[in-house]
């Protein structure tokens, strides 16, 4: 007998199938959510990259970031840039054409060598040699047209100084590997090649307009005076920023090899000079500070030379009378200055110059710094001669920083070639008192108004300053005829802003200076013209009605009868 049993499999089938569908659909939706979640994650990551995506761009050098950063002046004018230039080379071992045919063609296009030289190169079998670097695109096209496959052309980063000789000594130059050799190129080498920073140019303190004016006036004076060299400097008295720094003769940093080695020397920071009478205001300020000179009216004997052993200190134009302090500077009396230094004594005079840093190389970023000629023994003769700038040799930059301290209220600040943001100037160090500094402003102004520096006057700019004509030391002593003529000026004297220094090395005199080679006739006119040209650019408005208050000093100045 058979019993009918329900087939359990089939009965359960429909229910199971339904069960499976529910599970499958449920799991399908879970998986969809997973997909949506991962998609969202990618979307979030994309948003993150969109918002914070700048970082990798700076890490990997972009195409527009130069291999070496630019150097610009304080107003953003480019002074040094990096461009892509062409180089031309040859692979002599891969030559297809005949060297005899190619050599004359190369000699015609690259005339720096003759055909024989090119033939030797082409036959050398070397794997590579440069024929020309910094080639013009036209030349590259012509050489390419020769059709020799062994010629190689490459774009190479080249340092370009678009202003050619402008501020050449400040900028310096680079070697073929693109590393700074001198100047700020050398100082800034790490900063300019740092991938993270080279995109932003470095701003120097130099103002290219002022620099250009200074260079043009110095060059004109150097040419007319037939001087062997010249230096010029404009320094901000409040911040120590070097606005212009010129050294002549100049070189072209784009073509360094074509200039003589002496042209590459930065005379402002590397060369030391006996700067003569320009030291007198420093001595005078120290004497006022130390209480040696108690009154401006105090008179000193200038009738007779001061004798130190067999050596006598004389004046070029003896006054033949007793001089007070303003008269000493106006007439630039060596005798009186030496007498005051004698009263100061050796220790205090030495301390003054040490305090101003004259015993050390100048303080500035440049590595090209000269060691000063610091007297080996400070005898009485040294004490007396250094007071008027002989027997001690410093750089023009030393003088500029000292003058800045002399007039800015007495604070010595290191000179800098970086642009200083407002309010970020170095704190500096007090070397003169405030009242002494105020007195020096009057005295320096008087020198230009009535003394040896009359030709430095630029109408309306209230120029003050001091001449310095030093005899050049030569083999066997000082030369009577060869001078180093310096003028150290400050303007405007009622509220000093800038120190301007011009120096001519061995001027020979011109019709303009009546054949004279002293600073008052050679360097002072340079200062006058530089100030007249650059004053407005530097924000100093010429004003004939403004003048520093000299009412307490003017009555002290003796005038010959009929000259009132």
């Amino acid at each position: 007998m058979t019993t009918l049993v329900a087939r359990p499999h089939r009965v359960r089938h429909a229910g199971q199938r339904y069960q499976w569908l529910v599970t499958a659909h449920y799991r399908l939706m879970v998986m969809m959510l997973v997909f949506l979640g991962v998609g969202l994650l990618i979307g979030l990551r994309l948003s993150y990259l969109a918002v914070f995506g700048d970082e990798p761009r700076s890490r990997v050098a972009g195409t527009l970031v130069p291999l070496r950063g630019d150097i610009v002046d304080r107003n953003g004018v480019p002074l040094a840039r990096t461009i892509d230039a062409w180089s031309i080379g040859v692979h002599p071992d891969r030559l297809l054409g005949k060297p005899e045919d190619l050599a004359p063609q190369l000699a015609a296009l690259l005339p720096e060598h003759d055909a024989g030289w090119y033939l030797a190169v082409l036959r050398s079998g070397k794997s590579f040699t440069y024929l020309r670097r910094r080639a013009l695109p036209e030349l590259v096209a012509k050489i390419n047209a020769l059709g020799e496959p062994a010629m190689a052309f490459a774009r190479e980063p080249e340092r370009l100084y678009p202003q050619t000789t402008l501020a050449a000594h400040v900028l310096g130059y680079t070697d073929f590997d693109g590393h700074g050799v001198t100047g700020m190129e050398r100082v800034l080498d790490d900063r300019l090649t740092d991938p993270a920073q080279r995109g932003t140019p470095v701003a120097l303190s130099i103002d290219s307009r002022v620099q250009a004016a200074m260079e043009s006036e110095l060059f004109a004076a150097m040419t007319s005076q037939q001087a062997v060299g010249a230096t010029g400097l404009v320094l901000d008295v409040a911040t120590g920023e070097v606005i212009a720094m010129a050294s002549m003769p100049v070189y072209n940093p784009n073509k360094v090899g074509q200039s003589p080695p002496e042209a590459r020397r930065n005379n402002v920071t590397q060369s030391v000079y006996e700067l003569g009478s320009t030291f007198k205001p420093i001595t005078m300020a120290a004497a006022i500070d130390d209480g040696v000179v108690t009154s401006m009216a105090k008179r000193y004997d200038a009738t007779a030379p001061v004798a130190i052993g067999r050596f006598r200190i004389k004046d070029d134009h003896p006054a033949g009378r007793w001089l007070n302090v303003p008269e000493t500077l106006i007439q630039s009396s060596n005798i009186v200055t030496a007498r005051i230094a004698d009263e100061m004594g050796q220790a205090r005079m030495e301390a003054v110059f040490r305090n101003l840093g004259f015993d050390k190389p100048p303080v500035i970023e440049l590595r090209e710094k000269g060691r000063t000629l610091w007297p080996r023994d400070w005898g009485r003769a040294t004490t007396l001669t250094t007071a008027y700038g002989h027997g001690i040799a410093v750089t023009p930059l030393h003088l500029a920083t000292a003058y800045a301290a002399l007039v800015n209220g007495g604070t010595l600040r290191p000179a800098t070639l970086y642009r200083v943001a407002p309010g970020k100037a170095a704190v500096g160090r007090r070397v003169f008192t405030e009242s002494t500094s105020a007195r020096m402003r009057q005295l320096l102004r008087l020198v230009v108004m009535q003394g040896t520096g009359k030709r430095a006057e630029a109408p309306g700019y209230r120029v003050g300053g001091k001449t310095g004509t030093a005899e050049k030391p030569q083999a066997g002593g000082y030369s009577k005829s060869v001078n180093v003529s310096t003028f150290a000026a400050v303007f405007p004297m009622d509220k000093p802003r800038y120190v301007v220094i011009a120096m001519l090395d061995a001027p020979k005199g011109s019709a303009e200076s009546s054949g004279l080679t002293t600073a008052g006739y050679t360097a002072a006119p340079v200062v006058s013209r530089v100030i007249a040209r650059t004053g407005p650019m530097l924000g100093v408005i010429p004003d004939a009605n403004k003048e520093i208050d000299l009412s307490d000093l003017l009555p002290l100045i003796w005038k010959p009868k009929g000259h009132e």
């Binding site: 199938r17 069960q19 499976w20 569908l21 599970t23 499958a24 659909h25 799991r27 399908l28 939706m29 998986m31 969809m32 997909f35 949506l36 991962v38 998609g39 994650l41 990618i42 979307g43 990551r45 994309l46 948003s47 990259l49 969109a50 995506g53 700048d54 990798p56 761009r57 890490r59 990997v60 972009g62 195409t63």
Partner: protein
């Protein structure tokens, strides 16, 4: 109608228009019309968009790749890769459309035969394969060169779906071990190439289909645990995986490629540099294949990357949502598997490009350059279109208004 003097009578032009429309009208019973009404037209639109974007992207990446492969005496035309891709699209799209017209049974049978054929070729690869970039993945010569693993992927999905759907016939079949063994064998041969990325995809497909075939959650738990253990083991004992994962986590080794990809992706910002404006792409290796997403990012902006990511997600979501109406086990498994394979590959490639995942060597479906991959993807997508084809009136309520929902 009024007649305008000098111009003759105005002939109503609507007659021809009606004629064109009627060809796609519901009363048309031609096979093309039937196909058009049955096919998932959203999927068709999405894939058309993807292929179009792909052509633009390859055109953008082509100069970079051409420059990379030029040199010495060889000069590759800047648009060489674009023209090649165009030719492959011209071949592949008809293949995809043709496959999408196949009846589902035919599609299944052809795919199963294909699975056996390409599995056999995969076994041959380690012995006869051609070595490219340190991996043996290609067989064949010249234009007939192909990567069996690319073609095996969609066929494998269909095969696995068929195997697992046998459960509906006989519940006693030990399908989990059998399918696991097949997958394991394929994975073994893939690792031998070596191709870590493809191995991950095959394993993921197997897990997905198991999950959907309704195996109980205890087995799923074991499998997930096994997967994690597998990745850890791969990291510990499989050199390629160790290197790739180390490079990613510790940013050690040669990070040039990923650094460049990052730089390229972000170089264009949100809106891109514009077509042809990209610079970073020239420093990027594999700009036209693995890292094409980054090239898109540079030239068309991250906003274009968003759109592309959204498009891939939309395709997967569209398939999954439509499958909620599917009751046939094989069709559900096959369609879901094909969509997963497609979406997973896209997500992994994009994740690599945005540095969320280690470099894999995986292409962006339909966008990356590659003839073999294009054809294989078209076959896979054609199968997907064939399996998701359905009579729109079969399961729809007669009360639903005509305009609502497709």
């Amino acid at each position: 109608m009024a007649s305008i003097p000098g111009f003759g009578p105005v002939v109503p032009r609507s007659k021809t228009k009606v004629g064109v429309l009627s060809r796609f009208g519901r009363d048309d019973r031609s096979s093309f019309s039937l196909w058009f009404w049955e096919i998932d037209r959203f999927l068709l639109l999405f894939v058309t968009l993807l292929i179009s974007i792909g052509l633009i992207a390859v055109a953008a990446a082509s100069p970079a790749a051409a420059e990379r492969y030029s040199g010495g005496g060889v000069k590759v035309n800047p648009l060489h890769y674009f023209y090649m891709q165009l030719a492959w699209v011209v071949i592949s799209v008809p293949v995809m459309l043709f496959i999408s017209t196949w009846p589902k049974d035919v599609a299944r049978r052809v795919a199963l035969s294909g699975a056996i054929l390409f599995a056999f070729m995969l076994v041959l690869v380690p012995f006869f394969g051609e070595e490219v970039n340190g991996a043996r993945r290609w067989v064949g010569w010249g234009a007939a060169r192909l990567q069996p693993s690319e073609f095996l992927k969609p066929m494998f999905v269909v095969g696995l779906a068929w195997l697992l759907s046998l459960k509906a016939q006989d519940r006693t079949l030990p399908l989990v071990p059998i399918s696991g063994m097949i997958t394991g064998l394929i994975a073994l041969f893939l690792m031998k190439q070596p191709d870590f990325g493809q191995t991950v995809i095959f394993a993921a497909i197997w897990m997905t289909l198991l999950l959907l075939s309704g195996v109980n959650s205890r087995i799923i738990g074991w499998l997930v645990g096994g997967g994690v253990a597998g990745i850890v083991c791969a990291y510990l004992f499989y050199d390629v995986a160790t290197k790739r994962i180390n490079d990613f986590i510790f940013a050690e080794g040669d990070t040039y490629q990923t650094d460049m990809a990052h730089a390229t992706l972000t170089a264009g910002g949100l809106f891109g540099t514009g077509p042809g404006g990209g610079q970073m792409k020239f420093r990027l290796p594999e700009a036209h294949t693995d890292y094409i997403f980054s090239v898109i990012g540079e030239e068309f902006g991250l906003i274009a990357c968003f759109a592309i990511a959204a498009l891939y997600i939309a395709i997967v979501v569209r398939v999954f949502v439509k499958l909620l109406e599917e009751e046939d086990m094989f069709l559900l498994l096959a369609s879901a598997g094909l969509a997963t394979q497609f979406g997973l590959q896209a997500l992994i490639n994009m994740a690599v490009n945005v540095q969320l995942a280690p470099s894999k060597g995986m292409t962006l479906p339909f966008i990356s350059y590659g003839g073999s991959s294009m054809l294989a993807l078209s076959i896979g997508f054609g199968l997907l279109l064939a399996f998701t084809r359905r009579n729109p009136y079969l399961s729809r309520s007669p009360y639903v208004s005509r305009g609502g929902g497709i």
